[in-house]
Symmetry: C2
C-alpha cells in the first residue's frame, strides 16, 4: 500500500520504519524537503538529524506535505499537534479527499511550562481530531494511537503481552474498521482496540495526555500504557 | 476513627456504608439537615430519597457541613464538583484545618450537554483538587478515587482481581502515605496505588473523566477501570 506520513519527528520516523518493514511504500511529508535534508539539527529528544536517519533508511521517500499526501492511499498525521492544521492545509484538501487520515497527534501547549498542557481551544469541549475533520470534511479522520509512546504504537507486545488499550474514534464506521485491520498488522489484538464512537471521542483520547505526561514524569520511561479492565 | 463525609449523593452514601462496615463512626454532612430529611426526591441516578437510605442505615450520623467537618478526624469530599468549594466553605476552614481531605470529586460541567465536560477554569492548567488546596491551605488535600465508579472505589476486587489503578496526588507526603494506608482497608493493593506527585496531579486524574464518561457511554456499565501496564 502507498502511505503518506506527515511529519518527520520521532513518531513519524517510528511509524515509517514499521510500515517499510511491513512492505508498504512510504513517502514522508515535510514542509521544505531541501531544508530538511540540509539540517543537521537533532530533534527535541536527542535523536539524530533527519538527514542521517533518511540516509540509513533508503526505501523511504521524501516529499513536500502535498507530494506526500498525493502519493498516499492512506495518510498518517504524525506532526506536533500545534502544527497539524497548518501542515495538513499545505498537504491540500484535494490530496486528502476521500482518504483515511489516521490522526496520532496531540494538541500540546508548551507555552505554559513542562509538562505541557493541552491547547485550550482544542481540549475538553473540542479536540484536534475534530478540528481536522471539520477542516477536511471530505477526508475520513480516525483518531488512534495518540495515547502512548511511539515505541508501543508499532510494537504493543513490548509490554504486558500486548494486552493494553488503544482507542479508535471516527465518524465513518467503515474507516474505523479499516484502521482496526491496519492496526492489527502492527500487532494490536482486536480485544484491545476500543471504539469511542464518532470523532468527538478524540476529546477523551487527547485528554489522556494530561495523565500520560504526568506518568511519564513519574515512571521515567515511556514503556507503559493503560489497559481497560472490566 | 471519626470520619466526615461531605455530600449525600451516591458516592457519599457508598463511601459511608463501607466506612460503617469497617467500624468507623461517620457523620454525613449536608447543606440543610431538616430539608434533606424531609425531601422525598430521588437522586439523579434513580436512587431512593436520602431519607429512606438514612432510615435503613441507623449507625450513620447526619449534620450540617460544619458539624460533619468538626466531627471528622478525616474529611471525605464526595460532593458534585461544581458544588465542592461552596460546600467546603460552609464546612469552615477552622473545621478543616490540619485535617486530611480526601477529595473524590470531579469538576463536571453539565451545562454543555451530555456527557458532561470539565469546568473550563478547573481543567487542563488547573483542577478542583488544587483549588480546594488553595482555598484551605491549612488542610492536607489528597486527590484519589475520582477516576472510577463508586462501587469500585470501595470494592476494587469486583473486577480484574482488584488489579487496576487508583491515583494519589497531594502536596503532603505524610498525608499521601496515610491515605494509601486507608485505601488498603478498602481492598486496594499497594502496587495499584500510583502516586502522581503534588496536588497538580489532580489535573491528570480529573482529566481522566473525559475518557471515563465516554467509556461509560460505550460500555453501558460503570464496572470498569484502567490499569497501568509497564
Amino acid at each position: 500500500m502507498k502511505i503518506s506520513v506527515i511529519g518527520t519527528g520521532t513518531v513519524g520516523r517510528t511509524i515509517t520504519s514499521k510500515l517499510i518493514d511491513l512492505d508498504h511504500e512510504v513517502m514522508l511529508g515535510t514542509r521544505n524537503v531541501r531544508e530538511k535534508l540540509a539540517s543537521m539539527v537533532k530533534d527535541g529528544y536527542g535523536n539524530p538529524p533527519f538527514s542521517e536517519w533518511y540516509k540509513s533508511n533508503p526505501k523511504v521517500k521524501l516529499g513536500s506535505f502535498a507530494e506526500s499526501a498525493a502519493f498516499g492511499e492512506l495518510v498518517v498525521n504524525a506532526t506536533l499537534g500545534g502544527n497539524s492544521l497548518d501542515a495538513l492545509k499545505l498537504a491540500g484538501s484535494k490530496n486528502l479527499s476521500g482518504k483515511i487520515i489516521i490522526d496520532i497527534s496531540n494538541p500540546l501547549d508548551f507555552s505554559k511550562g513542562m509538562p505541557p498542557s493541552l491547547i485550550p481551544g482544542l481540549s475538553n469541549t473540542n479536540s484536534l481530531g475534530e478540528e481536522i475533520q471539520k477542516t477536511f470534511p471530505e477526508a475520513r479522520v480516525v483518531k488512534t494511537l495518540n495515547t502512548m509512546w511511539c515505541g508501543l504504537m508499532v510494537n504493543p507486545g513490548l509490554i504486558g503481552n500486548g494486552d493494553h488499550t488503544n482507542y479508535i474514534s471516527g465518524n465513518d464506521a467503515g474507516a474505523r474498521a479499516e484502521v482496526k485491520k491496519f492496526l492489527k498488522t502492527f500487532g494490536w489484538k482486536d480485544d484491545n482496540l476500543i471504539e469511542l464512537g464518532d470523532i468527538t471521542g478524540a476529546r477523551a483520547a487527547e485528554g489522556v495526555l494530561l495523565l500520560w505526561l504526568r506518568l511519564l514524569g513519574t515512571l521515567n520511561s515511556g514503556a507503559f500504557n493503560l489497559k481497560l479492565v472490566r
